[in-house]
């Protein structure tokens, strides 16, 4: 069974600085999808970034980028130029290639301090 682990329950960063959130996963699949979702206090789950395992190139979305290390089964999220609005719970998630069930990590609570 696939598992997703986020080893940092809480992190903080100063506004405008860069922060990296860690995620590791376990699977025997070769093709799959990985995601980072953000959940602010409003509780809405917002898709931050998506990575397809068969693509070597790391995904980037504006200030958000990932470091995808397939052999190490690692999928970290880097937030550059952190903003106060980035304060939220961040969840790493795994999905099999046939779609369907998302398997989530435990979450990392990020606080951006002014």
């Amino acid at each position: 069974a696939q598992t997703v682990t986020q080893s940092q329950p809480e992190m903080s960063v100063q506004e405008a600085e860069t922060v990296t959130l860690s995620c590791t996963y376990d699977t025997s699949e070769n093709n799959y999808y990985l995601f980072w979702y953000k959940q602010p206090p409003s509780r809405q789950m917002i898709l931050v970034i998506r990575q397809e395992a068969y693509k070597q190139q790391n995904a980037t979305e504006n200030r958000f980028s990932v470091n995808f290390q397939k052999a190490a089964k690692s999928f970290s999220l880097k937030i550059s130029d952190s903003q106060l609005g980035d304060t939220a719970m961040y969840f790493c998630a795994f999905m099999n290639p046939d779609g369907g069930k998302l398997i989530f990590g435990q979450g990392t609570e990020l606080s951006v301090k002014p």
Binding site: G99, L102, F104
Partner: protein, 115 residues
């Protein structure tokens, strides 16, 4: 992406009662999903709702407790039956979109408190 709405946004219910949560999406989708997020926890999939067939439940979740309807390609309901305080959670629906239906977008969630 997709625009997804849920009703109600929150509710406070008495134990032993049932609550039906609605999920509406602005486009036709094949797969809809229902997740539970218990206080301070991550999300866990309850079931997958396919139009025209019975929902598929994950281990630990049963139809008698969480009956699901999927009458068309834009709408689904989840009922939390015979509620107890342990059912206090956020319930979220999601839909798969994208060319390969490989990305899920979530509704705003329903915060349920059972007294």
């Amino acid at each position: 992406s997709a625009v997804i709405s849920q009703k109600p946004s929150r509710d406070i219910c008495q134990r032993g009662t049932s609550l039906t949560i609605q999920c509406q999406v602005d486009s036709q989708v094949t797969m809809m999903f229902w997740y539970r997020q218990q206080p301070g926890q991550s999300l866990t999939l309850i079931a997958t709702a396919n139009q025209g067939s019975e929902a598929t439940y994950e281990s630990g979740f049963v139809i008698d407790k969480f009956p699901i309807s999927r009458p068309n390609l834009t709408f689904s309901t989840l009922t939390v039956s015979n509620m107890s305080p342990e059912d206090s959670s956020i319930y979220l629906c999601s839909v798969e979109v994208g060319l390969a239906a490989d990305t899920q977008y979530f509704g705003p969630g329903t915060r349920l408190t059972v007294l």
